[in-house]
Symmetry: C2
Subunit: 670 residues, 2 copies
């Protein structure tokens, strides 16, 4: 076909396709197939429906767009360039997948303004989108007034076969259907091809029927390659159904336009190659050089700038009225968006004395959450069906349900991975909400994909993980964490805190809330069993990660380092050793990450290099503790799986008694 | 009702219920609700359908039973006691959830003969069952003859709402539907209650419709509490449909029989309490003391012993005929079941010289898999839709598909967690198959629940994980493992191996296959990029976990410790240091677990305590390496997330160059 025959829409769509083709070719790396096939639906969505302001990517009331099939990121970069985002210039597109570029190999919200969430690991994006839609629904229910609609946006997703095969997407979409999140609209790029070839080899289920079973509104655009009106009609219909999320199955051809590679796995994840690109240009009537976008196409797509300014201006007007009419709510809304915490918020966190009742740290967590709930209305979250074991219910609120989106207790169901990504999405809504998600510590294994992303993608989430050691008892080794805390400590930028008592739990929440406001996740490892309150524990100490709970005169003969429930064993042992004339220091180390963040002088003052007799005590793997035990030190840990028995029996059998700490300590002292 | 009115079936069913009630009450811990509600379906299944031999729990051709809702384990223990398994005596039931008992808090195959798989972490069991059914289908296709059916059993599952909410079950069941595993029959205990309360609060999807969408045959028993005939009819109908797995939704009442707690979350996971137990006894007309089973009930259920002996005898007769008629196949079948490896199997593993081409270790893995495939027909597996990236295809075989179950290449789809549990199930079929599952190393995060269970439940699986560091390049931080290897090393009883070159990859497979035969899983971390073949590498060295690849005369001044792709950097740096007159040893440490298993003398010989100048080099987190670096040593690692750029650029930017190794080494040498 000749270029003259291309309509304006075709020019725009092909601009997307060839920006993707050319960028992948230049990088010799990337995924051209999805952008080529999904360009029409993406163009229609961005051109006719999406409300956003390219010059202010953080404008609050924008529609959120999530490319769940993150490998197709050149689609999103092309859309952003065409729409006029400052972050994605033509130079950045030419620099696709290179060191320091704004166009990394998968969309990264922390690198590229305008990208909402980090995708690539399949299924995360659609689950994040459920979180974005929950955040919108919650804020709308909370702030909108009969006469003024302050919060009102859609969350749009493009997802592929890969996302739909992942369990996490099923979890999140089942919940989205249950919650009736009507402003969530997902376009399913149904291209029948995954990396291994035709989806026929592994994926022949009826996806539409499955989503109907979840309670979604489901539509089908049979020709997603050329039927732009059909796509537009479907999106419009999706918007009209307000009590259910919508899945629009859009049947497309992966690598559309490539004469020899379209509809093959070969076009999924590799550059087309010079020869095939030439043929594709011919086939699509594309006479432009690499990275050249026709003027008329750019002129059209850049209208997004003007549109966006006007959308935002309109909203600013509403906001101005809102501030006048509802100053109290406006102040709260403003505070949330600013990410500021209320003055003195942390004063509600309790501290404890040794004579106070020994409670489980999960119980202290419940006390903290409920103390914070009235002060921090941004706290919203819940458990993966373990609410009364994790103790995460906010008493002042009801359940977040269809028709009750103003509530703050979310019942995630037994869907840990979905919960994780949903919490990430709530955080990345960027509206000041502080989400928390809870399950048993050992089941972080089910949601590790999302926990890792919370750290990478800078999500201010609190992970409330209870039943933190073999001391949980009878449920046995499938439920008893052993290596779990170590495996979480290894994740960069995740702060793991295992508090020793009530005061330390308060300290942990202080850190967690402050972290959340710095867009950093915190994971709390909390006990099932009661923990005595220590004389030496402190909120400030937790902030430093490691600190002295029992000191001694002069240089210690021995340092005992404990975390969580084992600090008390160290304290008891130290008291006895002191009575025997030994100079013993006990360092409570609730968070190695926070300790590492202190300056060298502080660290040396806590763990002097000269004191080589050190005993670490933690009811978990020894893995990772040699750094603090040192070559001459010892570690009392558990390097096997646990066992089913009452918690006290487990602790004793695995050696977590004062006597055993004493005997290991004495062995070191010689 | 009076006891006289109880039918024999009711006596049996109530025996199950009260064994569960009484055991949980005695332990003051456990889950009575599921056994009370699911007892009728379980009784009908075990009484009328299941073919097994209680006196030989390992009889090959038994039907497999999986309690996916593992918290209800007292159901299974009661069934096993009633059926006459030696492992579960009345004393063991009285010892429920106590240290050293055969009746731990969740079913554990490694503790209790007769338990097929370890469940408790929800969703794993149903996914294991898919693996069991795959194993059966494969062996049947391979060994059965038109005149002799050697392999022919069903896999039955009881699963609950929790299992059905978990993404892993969706992944595995979608694949089971695709594969048309007709001998997989799952009974869904539809009791509308999960821990947080009514499933209405989080789980209102249409489960039956979802399974239909997966391609399952779906049935519904409306009154699972009393309609025993309906249950039996449904199971019979399920058996009659041979080309689809069947889900039988059995609507029940959790805690059936308890006047005040039935149909509440309160009965899910806590003892009923003395008063309620009394009322339940009255309500169900149960006049027997705790732990007393009526004689007529026991007499009936113990008929399973005679039935089982006759089932096995019948099969032994078939087997005898088979051995006569098909001696070659019989010998192979026999070898598989014995768990013996063929003589000299490991001779096919290649070794390499420095002049051989530098290939990626994932490529070497492909070479090993394909060298082993003809020698070890028990190798069966595949990738989660990354076959041509993980390089896991066995060239001598086709795809395992409906109608082609004799094949060995399984396409798992983008379903990592499901793949993990399916591989565990194949291993736990106990028929000598060695399953392997593959994805990118970073996505072990998606399947960690199953990897952990592979170690705990003693599954001889090989996890083939490729793209093992930031050197994978452009895909960026979402795809680049940093903390991943450390987090896997922390798992007890999992052998993690990161080979440095071709010879070490062969060594890794030697260990992995031998581990599999000892029911231990092995995880291989393999490179995307080419690795030079080292002069000093060896298969034997890998077996020891750490060994010298470059030595020196006398006591070294410095030891460089490297793994995988970084060993070559160490070698190059050592050569240069040697040229400068330094005495340097390079230890390749492909597996810290294997190294730890060596005796103290060997470990001291490799890493003498006296040599404190040590530099560890690994393109991953430093977490966990201080044990080997020692207090005076140094670690060149990556404690941040990666970045999107070509692999070589990434390695350079993160400091993985010979120059940087040299400079860190010289800083240590002073």
């Amino acid at each position: 076909m000749a270029v003259a025959t291309l309509t304006l829409e075709q020019l725009c769509i092909n601009s997307i396709r060839f920006l993707a083709i050319d960028a992948v070719e230049k990088a010799k790396s990337g995924h051209p197939g999805l952008p080529m096939g999904a360009a029409p639906m993406a163009f229609v969505l961005w051109d006719q429906f999406m409300r956003f302001n390219p010059k202010n990517p953080k404008w609050f009331n924008r529609d959120r767009f999530v490319l769940s099939a993150g490998h197709g990121c050149m689609l999103q970069y092309a859309l952003m360039y065409l729409a006029g985002y400052d972050s994605v210039t033509l130079d950045e597109i030419k620099n696709f997948r290179q060191w320091g570029s704004k166009t990394p190999g998968h969309p990264e919200n922390f690198e590229t303004p305008g990208i909402e969430v980090t995708t690539g690991p399949l299924g995360q994006g659609i689950a994040n989108a459920v979180g974005l839609a929950i955040a919108e629904a919650h804020l709308a229910a909370k702030f909108n007034k009969p006469d003024l609609t302050l919060v009102d946006h859609y969350t749009y997703v493009i997802l592929g076969d890969g996302c739909n095969m992942e369990g996490i997407s099923g979890e999140a979409c089942s919940l989205a259907g249950h919650l009736g999140l009507g402003k969530l609209i997902a376009l399913y790029d149904d291209n029948h091809i995954s990396i291994d070839g035709s989806t026929d080899i592994a994926f022949t289920e009826d996806v539409s029927k499955r989503f109907e079973a979840y309670g979604w509104h489901v539509l089908h655009v049979q020709d997603g390659n050329t039927d732009l009106e059909g796509i537009a009609r479907a999106i419009a219909e999706a918007k009209s159904v307000t009590d259910k999320p919508t899945l629009i199955k859009v049947t497309t051809t992966i690598g559309y336009g490539s004469p020899n590679k379209a509809n093959t796995a070969g076009v999924h994840g590799a550059a087309l190659g010079e020869a095939e690109i030439k043929l594709t240009r011919e086939n699509l009537g594309w006479t432009y050089d690499p990275f050249v976008v026709p003027d008329e196409a750019l002129a059209h797509t850049r209208k997004a700038i003007e549109r966006g300014a006007s959308y935002e201006a309109e909203w600013q007007e509403t906001w101005a009225q809102y501030k006048t009419k509802y100053p109290q709510e406006a102040a709260e809304f403003d505070r949330l968006l600013s990410g500021k915490l209320p003055e003195g918020w942390d004063k509600v966190l309790p501290t404890y004395k040794p004579e106070d009742k020994a409670l489980a740290s999960r119980k202290h967590s419940e006390i903290c959450l409920n103390a914070l709930a009235p002060v921090l209305p941004e706290l919203i979250g819940g458990s993966a069906d373990l609410t009364h074991s994790n103790l995460t219910e906010l008493e002042i609120s009801g359940n977040f349900q269809k028709g009750a989106y103003e509530n703050r207790n979310i019942h995630f169901g037994v869907r840990e991975h979905g919960m994780g990504a949903i919490c990430n999405g709530i955080a990345l809504h960027g509206s000041g909400l502080i989400p928390y998600g809870a399950t048993f510590l050992v089941f972080t294994d089910y949601m590790r994909g999302a926990i890792r992303l919370s750290a990478l993608a800078e999500c201010g989430v609190i992970w409330v993980m209870t039943h933190d050691s073999v001391a949980l008892g009878e449920d046995g080794p499938t439920h008893q964490p052993v290596e779990t805390i170590a495996s979480l400590r290894a994740i960069p930028d995740l702060t793991v805190i295992r508090p020793a008592d009530g005061t330390e739990t308060s300290g942990a929440y202080k850190v967690a809330i402050e972290n959340a406001r710095k867009n950093r996740p915190t994971l709390l490892a909390l006990s099932r069993q009661g923990l005595p309150n220590l004389a030496g524990s402190s909120i400030e100490g937790v902030g430093k990660g490691g600190y002295t709970v029992i000191g001694c005169d002069g240089t210690p003969d021995l340092i005992l380092i404990g975390t969580g429930s084992e600090v008390n064993l160290c304290v008891k042992a130290a008291e006895q050793l002191a009575a025997e004339g030994k100079k013993v220091r006990v360092v409570s180390m609730p968070s190695t990450e926070l300790f590492e963040a202190q300056d060298a002088a502080y660290k040396e003052s806590m763990l002097p290099k000269a004191v080589t007799k050190r005993l670490v005590v933690e009811a978990g793997t020894t893995f990772g503790w040699h750094k603090y035990a040192g070559s001459e030190g010892d570690i009392l840990g558990i390097d096997t799986f646990g066992a089913s028995a009452p918690g006290g029996v487990c602790m004793e059998k695995f050696g977590f008694t004062v006597d055993n700490v004493l005997s290991r300590a004495k062995a070191l002292l010689g």
